[in-house]
Symmetry: C2
Subunit: 151 residues, 2 copies
């Protein structure tokens, strides 16, 4: 398991290096440290959690930098942002099982009612450890309007 993490770090590190080289971006110690901190965790830390993780090693690092670098990683495809756009809480009065289309360009979240997606088999080996009560699928992509305006 330890070796597994070590391998992940190595892979991620070289991914960062090649992406930076290709894009002409600087390979700063902040970017290295932030990626390493992110890849070392198996949960999904917030920007502040990453900041806490690295501020002990990299003293003097700015919170702003962590936010900024994480967004850079997302736009480079090195990391994913797990949340809805702008991270605002959104509410829905429709409590029936349904799914969502999330446009990455404009941030719109559209409903998707599709009965054929409503009977997914719960993944094997998860229950009964984790008691699943519901699920929802989020499809990400680009909506019709954004495709028109952005090509």
């Amino acid at each position: 398991m330890k070796n597994e993490l070590h391998d992940i770090l190595k892979i991620k590190s070289s991914e960062l290096e090649s992406v930076c080289r290709n894009q002409g971006l600087a390979l700063t110690i902040q970017r290295r440290a932030i990626l390493e901190a992110l890849a070392s965790r198996k949960d999904h830390p917030t920007a502040d959690q990453v900041y806490e993780d690295i501020s002990s090693r990299l003293k003097g690092v700015s919170r702003t930098t962590v936010y900024r670098v994480l967004e850079t990683f997302v736009s480079l495809g090195i990391a994913k942002k797990i949340s809805y756009p702008e991270a605002k809480a959104r509410f829905d009065a429709d409590t029936s099982r349904h799914h969502h289309l999330n446009c990455l360009s404009c941030g719109a979240v559209l409903d998707l009612h599709d009965p054929s997606l409503n009977d997914l088999r719960p993944p094997a080996g998860v229950e009964p450890e984790f008691a699943i009560t519901d699920y929802s699928i989020t499809f990400t992509g680009k909506c019709a309007r954004c495709r028109k305006t952005e090509g």
Copy 2:
């Protein structure tokens, strides 16, 4: 279509009434207005958007109340919150297709790698209007630890 919305409002309104009666909660005009505003929209408004919607009709209503009532609705099962816990942006260095287990009690978000869930057929009739590039399934429920401590 107009009648459809009218029906939804009626259903939701009576749902609120029965839930409040059963739980001994007050059926305030604020709760009515907020639920009506929420159910009238087919998108997924933020708390502030709901506040904007009702503040014209219900003058003097407090932003705090809107936040509070929406959370109440979620805990009563009348509405859903479409976002990760606490609405913070979370990051993940694992960009491969995978899914999530979200504990409703403690807010933890766990990874779920399950190849059998990685080849979902894109829903019919959505593409090519909406260009889907990826998807992710979020299973909600209660994790092992919370089940132990909460029964």
